[in-house]
Each structure stands twice: as structure tokens, then as C-alpha cells.
Amino acid sequence: MPDIEFTLGLARADVDIAPTRASEDSEDATLVSAISLGDEDAFSRFHRKYAPLVHGIALAKLPAGEADDVTQEVFLAAFRGIKSLRDPDAVGPWLVKLTRNHVAGFYRSRKISEELPDEIHDRHSHRHEAAEILLAIRSLPEAYSETLVLRLIEGMTGEEIATRTGLSSGSVRVNLHRGMDLLRKALGVEVKK
């Protein structure tokens, strides 16, 4: 029975978000065509809209300071390469891929210098706990870690994650719940039934 409820819930969610996704696609296509013509205002709107997504994807792999830098680099690369984008509606997934490539390139070309939290000796401090949770999230498979970072750190809803990454709502929902279960295990928290 729980499986049936889950399936029904997914179907309802898909119907609900369909118009939203269509309008987002339309907006993205407009932005992409404007940016292709060199419209800096459009690029600024594009940056505001997608920066949390790019930052979240980068943060799932990189230290916080490096994630900020990579985010800016990805947008510069996006501005230069957006003319080569065949499907303007797929700009979100394209950005995700671009970010993953930059992260991979970052690991190839530089040495990672992860800064330790200032209060590393105080195991009960807020920053230490935050670093511990982030490390636990990063240890999860990519699909889970990226989705959890976008949800728990960047504050996006499941629907927003699905729309911007191009994933189906069902996939995002599964990634969120399974990822959360794995995170609880990694943190030593008993999984809620």
C-alpha cells in the first residue's frame, strides 16, 4: 500500500508543476536568446536565477571558498558558450553539466586546500557541526549529494530542483528521501520510520 500512495503522490505532483515548468522554459528561452545577442541585463537576470543552482552543484564537491570562485567561472564560460546551446529550454541541465566539468577541471589543475574550521578542537561548536554534516553529504553518491545540497543549503524546493536541473520530479523526490536516509545513517542518527 505505501508504494501505491507514493505513486499517486508523484502523479499529482507532476500534474501540478507542469505549467510552472513550461513557463520556466519559456522564460529561459527568452533569456538565452537575449544573452546570445550580448544583452548584459539578461545575463544579470540569468545569473541571479541560476547562481544558487551552480553554487550548490559546486559545493557538493568543493570547499566553500572554491565553490564561489567556480560559480563565477562557470557563468563566464556560460556567457561565452551559450550560443552553442542547441535547446534553450535545457539551459538548466546544460549549466549543471558545465559546472560538473569545471569542478572536474578544478581537481585536475589545482591542489585542494580545504580550510579547517576555526573551532576544530571544539567538537560541539556550530561550525564544526556544519562542516561535519557537509562532509557527510559529500560522501554520498553524486545524485544524492547534489540534490541534498540544493535542498538543505540552497533552500530550493524539490519542484525547483526538478525544474532547474531537468530531472523528473520523481527522481528528485527519490533522491531527496534516499539521500536523507543515507545522511542520517552517516551522521549516526536513527532513521525515522
Binding site: 559545493l59 564561489d68 557541526e129 556544519a130 531527496l176
Partner: protein
């Protein structure tokens, strides 16, 4: 209706809310959009055209200034005004390149000695092209010419170095010298 805070933030989940609060320090902080304004591309070849034009102009000026004078075509009427009649006859029969001196007895008291550059028949009004390109330069002109050639050499070497650096080609000139 059962809410799913993890999916749509509806309802509440104290555990997830606590994690969100702890992790909020990592959240993206809006920063200014990267500057993508088209910037003026400074080409390493930007000096080539002005330098070449300047050098060409300078060389042209030097060449013109030091070029041998073209044969002067003097008509008989003009010569008749300048030189007394006997001298005109002598000039017309003189072979090219020789100087004609008017006999002292034949010229008036105030007539001065004239050296007429004659390379062809004086009566001929047609200018001949200059065959020889040999240029006799003064010391100043030689110095200026050397400076221009040196400037062109240096500019060319630097441009080659810049070009090599851009193309990622090793500068064999310096390597060979170091060996």
C-alpha cells in the same frame, strides 16, 4: 493530508529544519554578476601597421632627398637666354655628361661660369628614367637610415617573440644562444 517538508517545505520537520539552520552558513551569498562587457582586445600586432607605414614614409623621404637629379631638359630658347650664342652651339654638340664652359672672350662681363648637367641631347624634352638606384647619403641620412633599420629589426624580433609566446612555440633563437 500528509505533508512532506523535505519536498516542498510545507508543514514542519524539526530535524531537517535544524540541519538547514546549521548548514545555512554555506548558502550562496549573492555577488555581482561577472563582468562580461566586451573588452577591447589589444593585439600584439597593433604596432606593426603604424611602424611599417612610418618606416616606409621615412625611407621614401630619404630616397627622394638623396636620389640623383634627373637630367634637365633645357630648351634652346632657355639656353639662349642663359648662355651666349657661341656657347649654345657648343653645348648642343657636346657629348652627354660633360660640362660646358663658355669662353671668357665670348661671355659678357657679368656672366658667370655655368656648369650644365647634360646627359642627353639638350634639345630633347623627354625625361629618361633613372637606371641607377645607388644613393649617396650624407652622414646624417646614414645615421637616420641605420636607426630605422634597427627599429624595424627590434620591432620584428619582439613581434616574433610575442607571436611565439602566444602560439606556445619555444624561442629557438634564445635557446641556441644559451647553448
Amino acid at each position: 493530508m500528509k505533508t512532506d517538508y523535505l519536498w516542498d517545505k510545507q508543514g514542519s520537520d524539526s530535524e531537517i529544519e535544524r540541519i538547514e539552520t546549521i548548514l545555512s552558513e554555506y548558502r550562496y551569498v549573492p555577488v555581482p554578476t561577472p563582468n562580461v562587457a566586451p573588452q577591447k582586445v589589444v593585439s600584439p600586432w597593433r604596432w606593426l601597421l603604424p611602424a611599417t607605414a612610418f618606416a616606409a614614409l621615412l625611407l621614401t623621404v630619404l630616397w627622394i632627398g638623396s636620389a640623383p637629379k634627373s637630367p634637365v631638359a633645357v630648351s634652346k630658347e632657355v639656353l639662349a637666354e642663359l648662355v651666349p650664342a657661341p656657347a649654345v652651339a657648343a653645348v648642343s654638340e657636346t657629348p652627354a655628361g660633360t660640362a660646358v664652359e663658355t669662353p671668357a672672350s665670348a661671355r659678357p662681363a657679368k656672366t658667370r661660369l655655368m656648369l650644365i648637367p647634360i646627359r642627353a641631347k639638350v634639345s630633347s624634352s623627354r625625361k629618361r628614367p633613372i637606371k641607377s638606384a645607388t644613393v649617396a647619403l650624407t652622414d646624417e641620412e646614414k645615421y637616420a637610415y641605420e636607426q630605422v633599420v634597427r627599429a624595424l629589426y627590434i620591432t620584428g624580433t619582439q613581434l616574433r617573440s610575442v607571436h611565439s609566446a602566444i602560439a606556445g612555440i619555444e624561442d629557438h633563437t634564445t635557446t641556441d644562444k644559451n647553448r
